[in-house]
């Protein structure tokens, strides 16, 4: 089991002390993904807290691995509006994915117009 976890890049664990709180660890990632996901989670009104840290700045250099933790505590919206932390993360990733996809499409479209029929290379 621990072997299995060690090969995972994304590890999520519920926090046993606080309800609706979990810790997400993404290996080999840094602020680029951490800050993006943290920020997107905060946009979800049902997420109460979301933060990330890189435990040690040098870890990446020594092990070529970066551990990144995202803590989040979604709070319960009175009745049926509640959402579990994994769901919130999936939603955030999904929303960002869709946004970047749109940006990429429009970028390529515009670039083509700019380049005209001149070959790109």
């Amino acid at each position: 089991m621990s072997d299995f976890l060690q090969n995972q890049r994304v590890i999520y664990a519920d926090d046993s002390r606080v309800r609706h709180q979990g810790i997400l660890t993404i290996k080999q990632e840094d602020h680029s993904l951490g800050n993006l996901v943290r920020h997107q989670l905060l946009e979800n009104p049902r997420v109460k807290f979301s933060g990330y840290r890189k435990p040690h700045p040098l870890e990446e250099h020594v092990e070529i691995k970066v551990f990144l933790s995202i803590f989040l505590i979604p709070f319960q919206v009175q009745t049926n509006g509640e959402v579990a932390p994994p769901t919130a993360i999936i939603q955030a990733a999904d929303q960002l994915y869709k946004m970047l996809q749109k940006l990429n499409e429009s970028l390529l479209q515009q670039a083509q117009l700019f380049r005209g029929d001149v070959t790109m290379l």
């Binding site: 994915y97 700019f114 790109m120």
Partner: protein, 325 residues
């Protein structure tokens, strides 16, 4: 402020995310957008609109450090009788930009199935230069001979008129000096070493806002003071209109937020007449490629890398299920 129906759809997300930070109503938002301002062979300038700092900064970081390219990584020195020592030359060779349009067909060397090196993860070159018949000779990127037909070759810069520039100078040899090396290029990214970074510049800035109360300034300041006000800005944001004898904003885009104008206004009891700020939802990017990839390709690849990361995060999270209690 948040409507429940706005969650979990692409548009609803834009609503919740960007509408809220600017305090706009539910309807008053715009979709995130990229607008190319300039595009040339090596430089792209574009605006990223209606997102926030976290998106813009992630994009910047990925462009600099995580877009993979090819660079010379291993140098086997067979003969070096030049004035420069081996490591010095090897370092220079590493920094030579290699055309990486086909970088996707290669594996990272530590993820490749082979034990040390193969055609899937490396490209071999030969560098052989002898200075026998001259007093001095230049060794440049033309001396780097590919040993395979992989389309990874040193970048040949082309100027605005489409004319090839001189190849990149590596070093000089004087009479009877010789250089004989085997080079191996590998795939990597800027996180590992800056030589793999595809960009020379990746700059991001918020668009400045400069506002002046023209009536107030032109009423309360005499002409000399007005001219002084125009002259004090180091970036020539303001202009003095000789016909109207008035201060005008000429180019607010150039402002560097030095608040020199604000200080002047305060000293002259005109606190409210000058406003300096930055737009929080608009970022202007300038990305200058080293020639290894086209600039728009770099940005597009960076977006795709971010997308891949998020996709992986999303799918990996699904196995943890939705066990809300």
């Amino acid at each position: 402020m948040y409507g429940m129906e706005q969650i979990n759809t692409a548009t609803g997300f834009a609503n919740a995310k960007f509408g809220s930070s600017k305090g706009q109503g539910a309807k008053g938002f715009d979709e995130p957008e990229i607008r190319i301002l300039e595009l040339s062979k090596y430089v792209i300038k574009f605006e990223l609109l209606n997102t926030d700092l976290s998106v813009a900064n992630s994009l910047r970081r990925i462009i600099i450090a995580e877009v993979p390219t090819m660079a010379i990584d291993l140098v086997e020195v067979k003969e070096n009788t030049s004035a420069l020592h081996d490591e010095f030359i090897a370092h220079r060779l590493g920094l030579i930009p290699l055309q990486s349009f086909n970088v996707d067909q290669f594996n990272l060397s530590d993820q490749c199935a082979c034990s040390s090196m193969c055609a899937q993860c490396s490209v071999q070159f030969k560098l052989h230069a002898v200075c026998s018949d001259r007093d001095q000779m230049e060794v440049n990127t033309r001396h780097i001979q590919p040993l395979s037909d992989a389309p990874i070759i040193p970048v040949q810069y082309v100027n605005d008129k489409g004319i090839e520039e001189d190849p990149i100078l590596i070093m000089k040899l004087s009479k009877n000096q010789q250089l004989d090396m085997n080079l191996v290029a590998r795939k990597g990214n800027g996180k590992i070493h800056a030589k793999w970074s595809p960009v020379a510049t990746c700059q991001m800035r918020k668009e400045p806002i400069v506002e002046i109360d023209q009536d107030k300034i032109n009423r309360d300041l005499d002409i000399e003071k007005r001219k002084e006000f125009v002259a004090l800005c180091p970036r020539e944001v303001f202009a003095f209109n000789d016909y109207r004898n008035a201060v005008e904003i000429e180019n607010s885009d150039k402002c560097i937020q030095c608040i020199e104008c604000l200080r002047f206004a305060q000293a002259n009891n005109l606190e409210r007449a000058v406003k300096i700020a930055e737009r929080e939802d608009k970022f202007v990017f300038t990305v200058e490629s080293t020639g290894v990839l086209t600039p728009e390709d770099i940005v597009s690849r960076a977006l795709q890398i971010l997308m891949r990361k998020l996709y992986e995060l999303g799918t990996q999270m699904k196995k943890y299920g939705v066990n809300a209690d």
